[in-house]
Amino acid sequence: MLNFEDFIEKKIPQLKSWTATHYLNLALFNLILIVLVLLRSAGYFDPYFSITIHAIVLITLILLVFLLGVNSKFLFVLTCVLWIFVAFLKLVGIDVWAERTSVYAFEVLVLGVILFLTE
């Protein structure tokens, strides 16, 4: 049985190496997110274009592909995680959140399928 700490120990060099190669993209990714949140809080572009949380999530997903280079598998895992969360929310009766989360799950699935077709 693989020890969790051993597993992490083993993965840390890989993570460091990935971070080193994606350093600039990672910084850019974070920067864009911060800017988007700041713009949203300041109400920029309203009422012509509202930077909603939904829009930020969608942009984040797209940036994940272009800046961080995630593959379709990652997106399908994310779809599953979100969908299981939808199921949990539905079971506990929080329908509004379940619907919101299912929208994210669908968006990730669409991106995943598109990426899958291009891979």
Binding site: C80, W83, S102
Partner: protein, 1019 residues
């Protein structure tokens, strides 16, 4: 033994195919029928109707182009019926046929994508054939859905087999022709046929994107065409006339609305959230709930899917397995993953419809893509993409585990166990479909119907009797019989090929629907003359009374007791007119321009006073404008609505606002405003209905004020429907006529001057106090309610007549507590029929409040309830009321007729109906210029051909336009006194051309298949 065990896996498939037997087990001689199901009790006539692109059976006829697509579906019913099986067995055979076909089709596809894995193949069949989408398809036995579901896997299988060169092109063409026949039923709603090609296209796209090589793409396109072309050719028999209908009758935007159909895309998309669509739970009727009990109104089993933990868990399990499938992609099947992936996201997106947030894009498509509005039931049309892709992805996931190199025997057992659990789990999850609960047994709105014997007796009688159209009564849009059947068309349409008229649910604004509504109004008011004139225009000769129909409509007037009738149990057929007096094709002697012709609800009112040999025409018609003789020889009829009636309509159609309630209206006068189109002598005609209620004494004529001048109109004649006055001169232009009314307050003691004359109402524990108080010589009612649920003073409305409309006015003052409520409560002997609640604004001074009430047209009583509602405040509610008045609204129309000399004397028309699209006959006229009327719904596609008496063609070009709001009329000039004619619905030619191509395609593909049958290369 070994050979037998090889085929054991077929046993569950056969059992699945026989599922419909379970639906009928122990139910007796029932038929699954009602609402949208429409299982014919005479399958032969239903089959024969599919050979014509015009159906004259319902509401004056309609284009039937797309419905010809049901030819094969109804053939499946006709064969066992002709073999002498009873109707229950005929239906059972038909359902087993389609269920078997779906199971077979799914199995063929599963064999191709999941080779040699029987359990997986069974799982695919189960997931594809038993699911929530299929609940709805089977519940309504939807031809379009079943055809699509049966055809899709077979079509995809042919594409696959061609791609892998397992079958030859010749075989593929033959198989595609068969698929073309299967999918033909989807043409009944062409959106489903589009869905068929969308699925094929997405499959092709997925396959192409997975193998991006030029040669491969070329080959794939070739294979695709080999499949698609025969399917299209086989379906040309309905495609050609349907395309013709769409191009001539529909505009690219707002197509559905302009066709007169309700565009329900928004209401159907209310519950199609992504979370519901992924789980296939998008049917609108699942979510219709009783407002008080919160129980489902239509789908009792829906509660399990909403609240039961195992059902909820299973509904989420299937999508998550489909998503997980993408994590274990087998490269050999990458094309399948790509295709199913595309199908899943496109299917979910389209199935959601206009539900937000993706609904924004769907709405954009509606607004910008021509004819996109035809897809008004998105979930029902596109959910098959989700079903197919989910089933495919789940099976691919388990297939990969089964064929994995890492797979050991333990893993294989585990996967088999999972497969068995999924198969059984899905069958349990789909229990309404397996057990027949989708047909709601044991419920009043169930679909298991045991038709009484008198229905079949009536069917036999009708087959040889009752010429002319039959109009049903009561007039409810949905027929609900005491023995369980519910239908949105006349039940007679199931029985025989007779033309029927009824209140249509689907096209309530069509001209004929308006005329029918108008007829029922006059009938209920006992206005016999107007009723007779209307049925002449509508071509109705027989009234069909259904005493077993649950309805609030009042019984038929006594006048019917004097008519010749035939009875079958609670069904009576009254002969209202002789067919010879009311022919479908005739020549009229008088025509009138109706002002207004549209809106049709107003145009219809001009028909009532016109004699049976008259028609109304549209003065705005551009074709008529080109015929000066017709304009010159036509009279004029002008409708003028009373100001009280207009005020009532305005109130009814305006959303609830205070500005039209905080006023007092003068009910002692009504005004008629109209515009005379030209100078001349016009005969005023006033609707007769209960004029005495307004103090109008006709013995002295009618006192009026016209354009501020007093006049007395002398009476010419009076019928049960109208009062005809002596003609008077009018100049061209606008005129205003005022009539003074003596309106009676229908409430006793509403001014509280003589003590209490009301009933005390309300309920609940607490304290109440009713007091007549007086201030400055004025008496009023004071009501105090402390802690009671409700306290009220109830006043009966005297001489309440549900065929009239009412005006209610009162004064009130809210001292403290909750807002005052005024309720009109209408009850029959059994139940509350309608209650209109008006919440009065919080106002501490005396103020007037008024509103209108439109009763339900049923025998009943009504009362006004001045309510003082509960409040939590311990001081309670105190409200003062005074001067309660209820008046009848004067809603009698005033019409003006300008007569002309008749243009035709004693014409004779004899004709024969050769088919729904062809009528042939002869005409004898005294005047060579005349109007021929064909009482079938207007379409420019109806063509009149004039022939010499010897049958040779004549060079006469009749002018074609609409008359009587809905019918066809031709103005013909320059004919001999005797001639022959032919009326033909032209698009029928397209059907024959299409059918010929379809037959040739099928014969050709069968021939090349048979010729090459033994060819090994072709195997």
């Amino acid at each position: 033994m070994k050979n037998i065990s090889k085929y054991l896996f077929l046993i569950p498939l056969i059992l699945f195919a026989l599922t419909p037997i379970l639906w009928f087990l122990g139910k007796g001689p029932i038929i699954i029928n009602g609402v949208d199901i429409n299982f014919p009790l005479d399958p032969v006539s239903w089959f024969e109707r599919r050979f014509f692109v015009w159906n004259s059976i319902a509401i004056g006829g309609a284009d039937f182009s797309s419905s010809t697509a049901g030819l094969f579906f109804h053939l499946v019913q006709v064969i066992p019926y002709k073999l002498g099986f009873n109707l229950t067995l005929v239906q059972n055979i038909s359902l087993i046929f389609w269920f078997s076909l779906i199971v077979f089709s799914a199995y063929v596809f599963a064999r191709i994508i999941l080779p040699k894995k029987h359990l997986l193949q069974i799982l695919f069949v189960v997931l594809y054939s038993f699911n929530i989408y299929m609940f709805n398809s089977w519940e309504n036995i939807k031809v379009a859905n079943l055809s699509l579901v049966a055809a899709i896997p077979l079509a995809l299988s042919i594409v696959f087999l061609l791609h892998d060169k397992i079958i030859s092109h010749k075989r593929a063409i033959f198989f595609s022709s068969l698929v073309g026949i299967l999918v033909s039923g989807s043409g009944i709603n062409p959106a489903y046929f589009i869905s068929f090609f969308l699925i094929i296209l997405l499959f092709f796209l997925g396959d192409t994107l997975a193998h991006l090589k030029t040669d491969s793409i070329k080959l794939s396109i070739g294979n695709l065409l080999i499949v698609i072309i025969p399917i299209i050719l086989i379906n040309l028999f309905w495609i050609l006339p349907t395309l013709n209908f769409i191009s001539n009758n529909l505009s690219p935007s707002g197509s559905i609305d302009r066709l007169g159909f309700t565009n329900w895309v928004d209401s159907l998309s209310e519950n199609t959230s992504l979370v519901n669509i992924f789980r296939m739970q998008g049917a609108w009727d699942w979510y219709a709930k009783d407002g008080i009990t919160n129980q489902p109104l239509y789908i009792p089993y829906a509660l399990n899917y909403f609240h039961s933990l195992p059902f909820l868990a299973f509904s989420f399990l299937l999508p998550v397995l489909a998503f997980i499938s993408f994590l274990f992609v087998n490269k050999e099947n990458k094309n399948l993953y790509a295709a199913f992936g595309l199908m899943l996201i496109v299917g979910v997106f389209l199935g959601v419809g206009t539900h937000l947030p993706t609904g924004i894009f769907f709405r954009w498509l509606i607004d910008h893509v021509p004819f996109f509005t035809l897809l008004r039931s998105p979930w029902y049309i596109f959910s098959l993409l989700v079903t197919l892709s989910s089933a495919g992805l789940i099976c691919l996931l388990l297939y990969n585990f089964r064929i994995s190199k890492l797979s050991n025997s333990l893993n294989r057992v585990f996967v088999s166990l999972v497969l068995v659990i999924l198969i059984i789990g899905n069958l349990i999850y789909s229990y309404p479909q397996v057990t027949g609960k989708i047909f709601r047994p044991d419920r009043a709105d169930g679909f298991y119907i045991n038709f009484p014997n008198y229905v079949f007796d009536a069917k036999n009688w009708l087959a040889d009797n009752a010429e002319g159209r039959i109009i049903g009564y009561p007039d409810d849009e949905i027929e609900r019989f005491s023995w369980g059947y519910r239908g949105i068309d006349s039940i007679l349409n199931l029985l025989v090929d007779k033309e029927t008229l009824f209140s249509p649910l689907n096209v309530p604004d069509s001209p004929m629907a308006i005329l029918i509504k108008n007829f029922y109004q006059h009938l209920k008011k006992g206005q016999w003359q107007a009723t007779e004139n209307l049925i002449t225009k509508m071509g109705a000769t027989v009234l069909f009374e259904k005493k077993d129909q649950q309805s609030l409509s009042p019984p038929l007037p006594d006048k019917f007791q004097g008519l010749a009738s035939v009875s079958f149990g609670p069904w009576n057929f009254y002969q209202m007119q002789q067919p010879s007096e009311n022919q479908k094709i005739n020549i009229v002697s008088k025509s009138f321009f109706a002002y207004p012709y549209a809106p049709y609800s107003e145009g219809a009112e001009t028909i009532g006073p016109l004699g049976q040999d008259s028609i109304i025409l549209n003065p705005e018609d551009s074709v008529i404008a080109k015929v000066p003789a017709l304009t010159k020889n036509s009279g004029r009829i002008i409708l003028s609505r009373p100001s009280q009636g207009l005020d009532f309509n305005d109130f009814k159609l305006t959303p609830s606002i205070l500005s039209n309630r905080l006023i007092s209206r003068d009910m002692t006068q009504t005004q008629f405003e109209f515009s005379a189109p030209e100078d001349g002598t016009y005969q005023p005609i006033l609707e007769r209905y209960r004029l005495e209620d307004f103090g109008i004494d006709l013995s002295k004529g009618l006192k009026i004020e016209i354009d501020s001048t007093d006049q007395v109109w002398k009476i010419n004649k009076i019928s049960d429907s109208y009062v005809y006055f002596q003609p008077i001169e009018f100049t061209r232009g606008k005129h205003i006529i005022s009539i003074t009314l003596i309106t009676k307050n229908l409430i006793n003691g509403g001014e509280f001057e003589d003590g209490t004359k009301f009933e005390r109402g309300g309920y609940g524990q607490g304290f109440e106090e009713f007091k007549i108080e007086e201030t400055e010589g004025r008496k009023f009612l004071s009501i105090l309610n402390i802690n009671k649920a409700d306290v009220s003073a109830n006043f009966k409305i005297n001489s309440f007549n549900p065929m009239g409309d009412y005006y209610v006015e009162l004064k009130y003052r809210q001292i403290y507590g909750n807002n005052a409520n005024v309720v009109i409560s209408q009850n029959n002997s059994n139940t509350l029929v309608r209650a209109q609640v008006e919440r009065l604004p919080n106002y501490p001074e005396w103020h007037v409040f008024s509103f209108f009430y439109e009763p339900v047209e049923t025998q009943s009583e009504a009362k006004v309830i001045l309510s003082v509602p509960f409040t939590v405040d311990p001081l309670g509610t105190k409200i003062l009321y005074d001067d309660l008045k209820v008046y009848k609204v004067f809603d009698n129309d005033l019409l003006f007729i300008k007569e002309i000399n008749s243009i035709q004397q004693s014409p004779v028309v004899e004709f024969q109906r050769r088919s729904p699209v062809l009528y042939e006959g002869t005409v004898k006229v005294s005047n060579t210029s005349h109007l021929l009327v064909f009482s079938e719904n207007y379409s420019p596609m109806w063509q009149l051909q004039i022939l010499n008496i010897d049958g040779s063609k004549m060079d006469v070009a009749p002018h074609h336009f609409s008359a009587n709001l809905y019918a066809n009329a031709w103005y013909i000039e320059g004919t001999p006194n005797n001639y022959k004619f032919k009326i033909y619905y032209n698009p029928q030619n397209l059907f024959w051309i299409g059918l010929s191509i379809s037959l040739i395609t099928f014969i050709f593909s069968t021939a090349i298949f048979l010729i090459n049958f033994g060819d090994k290369k072709n195997a």
